[in-house]
Symmetry: C5
Subunit: 361 residues, 5 copies
């Protein structure tokens, strides 16, 4: 058990050790995904499109067509040397590449004069452990290229690639900035799916609480709350970054694309509003659960008290007549026994009426 819980600090320590002793800008992949690094280049303009997959940027370099739009997709981030070479090829600042590989970092957008760096998290809902899984995806945008870095091969962008390759001419008209928008829009669309899953979990929990089901445990609620916290942790920085992008008027983003950026911003705001609502509702559920515990305790104690209030006095009376004093004249009266029984009954009835009035049952 201890072993497991130690792992976070150990992992951080390991990453730290991996990196320490190296100057800033050194490339270390801090994620856990394995698998080799694959490159795929799509070069397109209005008139034509070409695609090539190579394992090596040197072989690919010749195919990068200046003046056309080049989308170099990098999948798997273990081969840091390869990634360094890609950076050199496109003239990327090493710090940006470092950020693309550092999966512990938060979403951000950095605008240097000649490139725009965007990193964000792709979130997905894992039903097996009812948790959000995250993967870091980064984009580096230049005048005539877009680099995308993914930790693992994803289905996510497949459709866009197919459309680029086979779709109508119109889809190839726009530049890398619009392509970046399309890809990010896919990722944010996924956020809505995760949001929907969380909403379902919340409603299930509420329903269970309503039915006083034993399935609800505070640990489950806590787990749900942690998913919300994690979601928030990734989405707030992204929202702020997009807002900055809206305002700063980057040279790399076309005026027309900016309208789409506004759209992204609205989507993110929408998600955040929903997250805040969920947070309030989850807090409310916690209160509800506490109250349901109190209610149960009340009901348990009422039962004990009702039984105690009826039988403890009666037992005492029975005890009285169980005493062995020589001189207890009433014991010999022939009607004493039924009289006592009736008396006991009257006491019990009085108790019950009194408790009914107090609305105890």
């Amino acid at each position: 058990m201890k072993k497991k819980t130690r792992s976070k600090a150990e992992k951080k320590m390991r990453n730290y050790r991996k990196k320490s002793g190296l100057p800033p800008g050194s490339l270390v992949y801090t994620g856990s995904a394995e698998g080799e690094t694959k490159l795929r280049l799509i070069s397109f303009d209005k008139d034509s499109v070409t695609q090539s997959e190579k394992g090596n940027i040197r072989e690919m370099a010749g195919q990068i067509a200046p003046g056309r739009n080049n989308w170099l997709s990098v999948t798997g981030l273990n081969d840091t040397e390869q990634i360094r070479l890609i950076g050199e090829q496109f003239g990327i600042h090493p710090l940006l590449l470092e950020d693309a590989l550092n999966t512990d970092s938060f979403p951000k957008i950095e605008d240097t004069s000649d490139t725009l760096f965007i990193s964000l998290k792709m979130l997905s809902w894992k039903n097996e452990n009812r948790s959000i899984a995250s993967e870091q995806i980064s984009f580096i945008l230049g005048k005539d290229f877009i680099l995308s870095f993914e930790e693992r091969p994803n289905e996510l962008f497949e459709r866009e690639r197919q459309r680029l390759l086979n779709g109508p001419e119109k889809t190839r008209e726009k530049g890398p900035d619009f392509l970046a928008y399309i890809l990010i829009d896919q990722i944010i669309d996924n956020y809505f799916l995760v949001l929907g899953e969380i909403e379902d979990r919340i409603e299930e929990t509420e329903m269970d609480l309503l039915n006083d089901s034993d399935e609800v445990t505070p640990l489950q609620m806590m787990h749900l709350k942690k998913q919300l916290i994690m979601f928030r942790k990734f989405i707030y920085p992204l929202r702020d970054a997009v807002r900055k992008l809206q305002r700063d008027d980057s040279a790399l983003i076309d005026r027309k694309t900016l309208r789409y950026v506004n759209d992204l911003y609205d989507h993110l705001q929408n998600i955040i509003q929903n997250l805040e609502s969920f947070r309030d509702i989850t807090t409310g559920l916690m209160d509800l659960y506490s109250n349901s515990l109190s209610n149960r305790l009340n009901s348990i104690m009422k039962t004990l008290t009702v039984i105690g209030a009826i039988f403890i006095p009666l037992t005492f009376i029975a005890g009285i007549y169980g005493m062995n004093f020589a001189n207890m004249p009433e014991l010999n009266h022939p009607l004493a026994y039924p009289a006592v029984l009736v008396f006991m009954l009257l006491i019990a009835i009085a108790m019950i009426i009194w408790m009914k009035r107090k609305k105890w049952f």
Copy 2:
């Protein structure tokens, strides 16, 4: 049960699937209202007014009078092709139409140079399930036209239409911006009604708590709280959008109308202040409920303790004299029995006095 709670994620998934594979700006209606799309055009200026209802924008196109004020009201959003054609007719950016049809989005105002897009929620109180129902209403404002998009036919704007058609000349003097203000004002007036309903629910709950009524359940309070959360979710973005409108000085809003925009803003601020108060009060009610539970538990346990404290010792004494030892000299004393009874009475009285002093009853 599961089936029902699954539906949110499924619905989102469905909408997502409907939309995915389509480029941005594709028109998909994400709401649940059925019924065909109806168009109604009111063309007016100071001197005259004409109205026509057609099912088809092509037939209607000829009646749109440039230079006059044209109010095209679209009711029912299922016929997305029709809506695309309307967009073309008036030169609306596809993203705006997409927003008008996407009922999952939040209120917003978007100012492109030649159109002003406004979307907001019409809220109404449904007494049957004590919930707020929402419907999305969008406006697109141009120099000489206003398009309104409603999910379902509404009584809400009926009065305004009648006034335009039959009212005094003065009502037709002002442009589409003022008409938009009038319509939005109607919607916001409705918010006050919903606010009043919520206030009533809160007061009912408070009254029930005061009367220690069993009708109050924490789930009801939670439900109320969720209505507040939902209300807030829709009103904050609207307030922010109106504030932006106040500041940005849109070319489509007349200086004179701007004063009315200020008025809208004040109304929204007023609503928000009330919502925040309600939120605080609802939190207070939750605390009140918790305390009332604790109070009840105290009262229950007091009863048990009072009874226990009196009778448990007495029962013990009775038990003593119920023992069968051969040599218990006091058993034979003729006054022993009444003496023990008196002793028991004294103990009971002492207990009662002691507990009275502790203010237990």
Copy 3:
């Protein structure tokens, strides 16, 4: 009961109906004060002062002296026609008059180029129901006039009027802006009195909690909290409005008067700081009350447990020797009875010592 709680929504509905069907700027008084509308005009400059009371603005119109300072005080807002005429006389925008009559609105200051509209709440403490009562007071300030609108006749401004009429020349030197400041300052001074009353209530509650008095009920605290919420609801918008006034540099406010506006702002900030403190303290009192409930429960349960722990085992022992087995040799031993009594005593003493160590009493 239901009837009463229904009234808020009904009232809002009624006001809404009163107003609906009317264009914006229609004058409807939404308050509950009855009594006829009275006008009183004080015309003053450095050298002289005249006062006239009429029931009708038309008769009064001749006495409004342009160039001199005119204070038209309107008391009772039921005669909306009269108020419309006043608006016409002074050239007031109908929306401002609407705001002056709409008592559901929140404090605000609106600066049109030629008039300054100020509306705020006069608060007073009603001892009979320990609540804050509010009345709306509005001012419209022009170059040479100030209109004041009060729902009911107030003593509040009596002193200022007397000073204007009978005071030294100096008091008549300054313009309507300074007069407005003086009147608002009176209202804000009243806020401090209300603040003091609330502080007293808080201290009473604290004292009662300290004495474990039964007088404290969570409903009382809730009521107190609601007074704070209500106070805040009125004072925050006012503070914001005054801040805007400080910044916007209205043409209607003399540079010298601006310093007094700063003073108002400081007073409001002071009140807000106090309200926030009260809010924190009230929350603390709620916690205190909860804890006192828990403490009482603990003390109740301790009593039951102490009694139970002592007597339940002893009763069992007595029960043993109350059994009717034929062969219970110890029953016949002559010292058995006193030995058992001593044994019981020892058990009781041991229990008491053990519980003393646990600090149960």
Copy 4:
């Protein structure tokens, strides 16, 4: 009791009455300090220093040396006429003097073009009632003078005066702005002492909670919390005022002194950070206390339940064999009695094992 708690509103009312009927700018001392008003003037420049104490500003007027730095220290604020005269002598706006005398006001800094008004609270810790005591101290800064207003004679500034009178030449080189800084720095240094006292109280409380000491009462924690609230109430406005001073670039503050103002600001930020931490910790302590109450209740109820679970069934068994049925064959078996005793023992052991497993003791 009532009498005492009434006093706050009464005091406010009294101050209000004292002031009401007077125009703004009227001087009323609202504090409670008694004692006559004393004046002390220190006139200094680089080369020389003179000191004089008079009871009357008229006599002192001649000694105020224009061009030199004059520090007029006013101790005791009851003689408002004297203070009015001082204001006239130095050309101070009456509103500023009113603020200096109004001890109900909050810290503020007001920059008129020719004077800088600073008012703040001197805080000190009173061990006898474990409370913060506050006294208002105000400064009015001019080109060549500084006026200081203290409610009571203080040791606080004694050292500075001695240094001015007897210290090295260097201390007299700087102007009134630097002197003001030095004096305010003394006051803020005191804040750190109060902070330290509060920290001690918090640690004591924590220690007591750890030792489950009965000394901790929620009322004590509440009292501590109120001290924090009071502290915050005074320090936030001061921080804001100092920030404004930093930004506004007053003509009365030398560039070189401004760096010291930054230092003050840092000190205040430091204090606020600490206060916020204390606030969080105090909230945590409250939670801790609640939990310790619950823990105790659990432990109490466990005791009762353990005893009940063991003896209630046994007592029932004893009761069975205490019944007087004629036909109870087992009663006559010679081994029945020991067999029942063993049976009882086994039940008790089984109960104890079961409860041990549940970790009840």
Copy 5:
């Protein structure tokens, strides 16, 4: 005990006394580290590097090479006279040196035109008391020098020094601003380690709560919370300071280094986001703990109630037939005894079924 808790106020008092009576800018080391002050100078440019260790700045002065980059590292801050001399040597404002020595201060960055002062806390996790330890580290940056002040000798910067001395030429190319960045980056890297340790503690606690372990005490959680509070106290001012640095565009920071400053800012934001998450999670754990207490109480009371509900009525029945009335006909019936036993059994079974239905066990 008291003695120990007194120490904070006493220490503050002592520091205060140490400092009081001294003018601002007087140098007093307020930390607790002992050991003598050591100086180490590294003078470097692209081409060469020299290192010297002296105990005295006067001896060292000759080695400070203007035009080259000089890193003077001061370890141990007790010798304030030495530090004053260093200040003189480099022309540092005394207030900055005072801040470097005042370990009670919070992180800050101060930009005078010719020097940049940076002070921050080095944090480390102490496993022995599961607490964060802090040490103040300050930097003063000039055109051609960087002074670093450490309370104790640290391993932290050893690697950087070795790289400067022995590393490739490239590491010596950049100026003091970049060196400062490198050193601060080391400190912030350490923050991540501390963050990881806290995360481990939180997960351990959660795991313990899940296992209903007795090891979790609210005091432990409180302790954890205090570590978070302490961390926040140090990191927020640092973040704000770095943001100011980003914006203010100091002359001492090269454009190229500014990008690295952005990187620092991102790291700090990342840490803050994590701290906020931890804060939410810790609050959640507290709630979880409270709920687990309630759950246990419920389970305890259920046990008592179940036992009571079964045996109290039965004991009463046994009591009835233990009474000694002469005339109790049923006592003599031969089947009465087994009949009563069966009756008792039926009652017990009915009770158990009823409680099973209520899901009590």
